[in-house]
């Protein structure tokens, strides 16, 4: 359950963004803009990642008005798993692309 996760292009895109600055906390809306994913796609992925404990989250007072926002970042296990998943995906692409281009 923990290790089996379907590597959709959207998931890989999110993991790639999270891996760019792995220790930095990110807001949901910022992740949505950076990955170009709509909230309807982004949050189911974040929920799945949180279920598998790849992602941790916390509340943070975002501005002087004291409005709280939810932030996300990869856990230690998540960083390891995400790096492996993204690397595996890139390798898969390198293998598949020449075969595709021969057509």
């Amino acid at each position: 359950m923990v290790d089996s996760i379907r590597l959709s292009p959207q998931l890989v895109s999110l993991l790639t963004i999270l891996l760019e600055k792995p220790l930095e906390w990110r807001y949901g809306y910022d992740l949505s803009r950076e990955t170009d994913l709509k909230s309807g796609t982004l949050y189911p992925i974040l929920i799945r990642l949180a279920q598998r404990q790849w992602v941790e989250s916390r509340w943070h007072l975002a501005d002087e008005n004291g409005k709280p926002r939810h932030m996300y970042r990869l856990t230690t296990d998540g960083r390891r798993a995400a790096a492996a998943a993204v690397a595996g995906r890139s390798k898969q692409r390198r293998v598949l692309r020449p075969a595709y281009e021969e057509r």
Binding site: Y27, Y29, A50, H70
Partner: protein, 203 residues
């Protein structure tokens, strides 16, 4: 400016309402989605965000229920769920046959809405069956209510001396009484009470 404020408010209100209606495990997610609406720029972007968030929450709730539905359910629940599903299919087939066999007279403009209404009505037992299969306690109560209503209608049917006698109404009354009895068994009530969604949100 006024429109900008109102779309943010509408979005926040929808997601706040949803957060209160969601199972406890999903509430923090709904709150997280709502909190972002304060920071979304643009007039219609908050609404787009909200539509996506509503979809995400329903998807999460549905998938959690389906995962949960994979667990063992008492034979009585399976029996009643299958009976209701079969009953729904039987009624739908009866209506479809009426249409196909040309038993519906009169212009289609007049008959289309009663037909659609009848089709929606016969879906009710099927919806109850799905709810029972997912161990939703509301479906258990609906099943009891439906069985009582159906048994009363069939009793009225049988007591009318002018209608054609058949075994089916008696059989249906027996099934309804069985469904009421089975849905109130302690083991069945316990299975529904144990229902919970396992979704974690680290905080």
């Amino acid at each position: 400016m006024r429109l900008l404020i109102s779309t943010h408010r509408v979005s926040a209100a929808i997601l706040r309402f949803l957060a209160e209606s969601m199972p406890p495990e999903l509430r923090p997610w709904a709150e997280a989605m709502r909190a972002e609406t304060d920071f979304i720029e643009g007039t219609f972007a908050p609404l787009t965000w909200t539509v996506g968030s509503v979809w995400a929450l329903f998807k999460a709730a549905a998938s959690a229920r389906l995962v949960d539905a994979g667990r063992e359910r008492p034979w009585a629940v399976r029996f009643v769920a299958v009976y209701y599903a079969a009953f729904s299919c039987e009624l739908a087939a009866a209506i479809a046959w009426q249409v196909v066999a040309g038993k519906i007279h009169g212009p289609w403009q007049e008959s289309i809405f009663p037909l659609l209404f009848c089709f929606l009505l016969v879906l009710l037992p099927a919806v109850i069956a799905i709810g029972l299969w997912l161990l939703d306690d509301a479906a258990r109560w609906m099943a009891i209510f439906f069985a009582v209503l159906h048994a009363v209608v069939n009793c009225a049917w049988i007591s009318n001396p002018e209608v054609h006698r058949s075994i089916m109404p008696s059989f249906r009354i027996a099934m309804d009484v069985s469904a009421i009895f089975l849905m109130n068994r302690p083991a069945v009530r316990g299975a529904f009470r144990d229902y919970r969604i396992d979704l974690r949100l680290t905080d």
